[in-house]
């Protein structure tokens, strides 16, 4: 579900709409960002990209995903999601190692072997279902964070959605690890990516609707949720991991106010 939540935020952001009431220019914001996730010097450009992404989602991706959701039975949608998760194995494995997590790396190898064979090319997840081997969510952006890199400026990437400078480098770092069979035609690979995107989106129809409903400023909702979620992932949601700005967040009578 970790992955699912990330995807939710990811997709929510992909679906990013800009609230009418907050469409005023922000350039002259006299308030410094209070939260590290709100560091957004490229806000004007980001808001533009966010708006384009949202239109892309509302008019193309979401309708297609809805249609797919209507046609496809839930188990098929989940199977396809498992397949793409399994294909990500080299990325997860390498980043386990980069972050010095041999145990997790071992589990991910076992998952890959079991799910690729018993799990029929990764369409099923017997590794978790029968052996209780839970998947991990790792990428090079998290590795950089683990190594101490700050998030840097918030970025909205066309089509891909919310990111930041660190995670954009992370995407580039993971790219060579993505399984790209040399014998498969490029158009088929792009087709696979589109299929993955549509299928993932179809799993989060309700969540994105809910997020839009609950948000008062959808742009900053997504920006903040993305940041918080990435921090949680970098810390592997460890029990002892605390929300950032703990002191500032929960005690409004701070002397520094």
């Amino acid at each position: 579900m970790k992955r699912a939540a990330l995807a939710t935020i990811f997709l929510a952001a992909l679906a990013g709409g800009v609230h009418a009431g907050t469409a005023a220019p922000y350039a002259a914001d006299p308030d410094p960002p209070e939260h590290p996730g709100d560091y957004d010097p490229l806000e004007r450009v980001n808001r533009g990209t966010f708006w384009v992404n949202d239109h892309f989602d509302v008019y193309l991706l979401e309708p297609v995903a809805k249609a797919w959701d209507w046609i496809a039975p839930d188990p098929l949608q989940r199977s396809i999601s498992h397949f793409f998760q399994n294909v990500r194995f080299p990325v997860v494995f390498a980043n386990d190692l980069f972050q010095g997590k041999p145990r997790e790396a071992g589990i991910d190898v076992a998952r890959f072997v079991i799910n690729t064979t018993v799990g029929v090319a990764g369409f099923m997840d017997p590794a978790e279902k029968w052996w209780g081997l839970e998947p991990h969510v790792e990428d090079f952006g998290q590795t950089l964070g683990r190594w101490g890199s700050p998030a840097g400026a918030y970025l909205v990437i066309p089509i891909l959605g919310p990111s930041n400078v660190r995670d954009a480098f992370g995407l580039a770092g993971d790219y060579p690890l993505t399984i790209v069979p040399f014998f498969v035609d490029q158009y088929i690979l792009w087709g696979a990516r589109v299929a993955e995107g549509v299928n993932e989106r179809s799993l989060y129809l309700q969540q994105v609707r809910d997020a839009k409903e609950a948000a008062l400023d959808y742009y900053s909702f997504v920006r903040n949720a993305y940041h918080q979620r990435r921090v949680a992932l970098i810390n592997d949601s460890r029990v002892e991991a605390k929300p950032q700005n703990e002191q500032d967040l929960y005690f409004f009578d701070n002397p520094q106010d």
């Binding site: 579900m1 009431g21 907050t22 008062l216 400023d217 949720a225 929960y250």
Partner: protein, 202 residues
């Protein structure tokens, strides 16, 4: 994700006691309401709202989400904000009462926080799906533990709303924020459903 937030909502309990018990009671009570699918939607919503109002300290939550802006509001604005914000949460999360699918809540631990606060951690699991983590930040107010934040998979609702409100306060001030909240509440109460697409930023 929003069902998780719903499940967060607490019931009436007595005494200070153990914060884990309080969260346990809260989730049990909310689930008991959600299970009564034969009841009219509105009735379930109002029952849940009653549980929430008792167990979440909206005064504290309102101060936390507005942070340093809180002090710049006059008393009337503070009162209106607290009311509209509570209503906003009730309207948006109340719309999800139908999406309960036998999720189970398991308390997996608790940790101490600064100044006597506690965080109670739970897993919300739906049959055949991976559980996700929902944490409740609780604080002793009066002689009761009150919920002051819900953290879903690492995303704190207080921090998230604060970020949004910060943005709105910076561009339009409290009048704009109250107006937005009010409009959204009126719209949400009149016609629950997906919001339309808004116009782009300039």
């Amino acid at each position: 994700m929003l069902v998780a937030a719903l499940l967060s909502i607490p019931p009436a309990a007595s005494a200070v006691g153990n914060p884990e018990d309080v969260v346990r009671q809260v989730t049990d009570e909310v689930i008991a309401v959600l299970k009564q699918k034969q009841l009219p939607r509105e009735q379930r919503q109002s029952q849940i709202l009653a549980i929430v109002e008792h167990r979440v300290d909206f005064d504290t939550v309102s101060k936390l989400v507005l942070a340093r802006h809180w002090k710049t509001l006059n008393e009337d604005q503070q009162r209106r904000f607290t009311q509209e914000f509570k209503e906003h949460l009730a309207v948006t999360y109340g719309q999800n009462v139908d999406s309960y699918h036998d999720q189970k809540v398991e308390i997996i631990g608790a940790r101490d926080e600064a100044r006597g606060d506690k965080t109670v951690q739970t897993h919300v699991a739906r049959e055949g799906q991976k559980p996700f983590q929902v944490d409740y930040r609780v604080r002793q107010i009066g002689d009761e533990w009150k919920i002051i934040d819900v953290i879903v998979e690492g995303v704190s609702l207080v921090a998230n709303f604060r970020s949004q409100f910060q943005q709105i306060m910076a561009s339009g001030g409290i009048d704009q924020l109250l107006k937005l909240l009010h409009e959204k509440n009126v719209k949400g109460e009149a016609a629950p459903g997906a919001p339309g697409l808004k116009s782009p930023a300039k």
